[in-house]
């Protein structure tokens, strides 16, 4: 079983639509990070959330950390083809000193 479960695993929508990706766990995390990975490249950090209930915005992307620090969501408004990629959440449990990754959400935005 995965420590971090992402849903959906695959999402294909039309340009201009809104979407939400979820990252869930039964464990509590000290922090949670979201990365985006393009084909042939390594993941690149988008945001880190550290406080329960925290909301961070990055242009059209809104990230939220759950109040209990067990889950997170990524909401994209008015999706564009440039948003296409693999979105990964990753968390570190207190004292574990390592990041564990979700299995990723492969997002495709069609023009």
């Amino acid at each position: 079983t995965q420590l971090l479960e992402q849903s959906p695993q695959f999402l294909s929508i039309q340009e201009g639509e809104n979407l939400t990706v979820y990252c869930n766990s039964s464990s509590v995390f000290s922090s949670l990070q979201w990365y985006r990975q393009e084909p042939g490249e390594g993941p690149v950090l988008l945001v880190t959330v550290v406080t329960g209930g925290e909301v961070k915005k990055l242009k059209r992307l809104t990230f939220q950390f759950g109040d209990a620090r067990k889950d997170s969501s990524l909401h994209i408004t008015a999706a564009q083809p440039g948003d296409t990629g693999l979105y990964l959440c990753a968390g570190d449990r207190q004292g574990a000193q390592k990041l564990v990754f979700g299995q990723g959400t492969r997002l495709t935005i069609n023009p």
């Binding site: 390594g42 993941p43 880190t48 550290v50 000193q97």
Partner: protein, 115 residues
């Protein structure tokens, strides 16, 4: 001025061979990692080093041996390659040993194919 660079980008080899992947970071970070990404894109940590000292060895077969000659380099040597070793291997670094609020900077990966 690539931050985390790893070579080679592609590696095709036969079962039973020994191969190495090199990684260098110019960010001045203290901690370096090797991650393995399988065909389903799942990223799993293999090793982490902090200032040349092994911190995490995540139940990886001992055919895999990391070496950190200095804190800017972390190489991965793999003996007796098996078909199941085929994957993309990512090197990464972070500023501090504590993951808390210290994000990872990844290289662009080495795609290893064992035939």
């Amino acid at each position: 001025d690539t931050a985390v660079s790893q070579t080679p980008k592609y590696l095709v080899t036969q079962m039973g061979n020994d191969k190495s992947i090199k990684c260098e970071q110019n960010l001045g970070h203290d901690t370096m990692y090797w991650y393995k990404q399988d065909s389903k894109k799942f990223l799993k940590i293999m090793f982490s080093y902090n200032n040349k000292e092994l911190i995490i060895n995540e139940t990886v077969p001992n055919r895999f041996s990391p070496k950190s000659p200095d804190k800017a380099h972390l190489n991965l040597h793999i003996n007796s390659l098996e078909l199941g070793d085929s994957a993309v291997y990512f090197c990464a670094s972070s500023q501090e040993w504590s993951i808390y609020n210290s994000p990872l900077h990844f290289g662009n990966g080495t795609r290893l194919t064992v035939t």
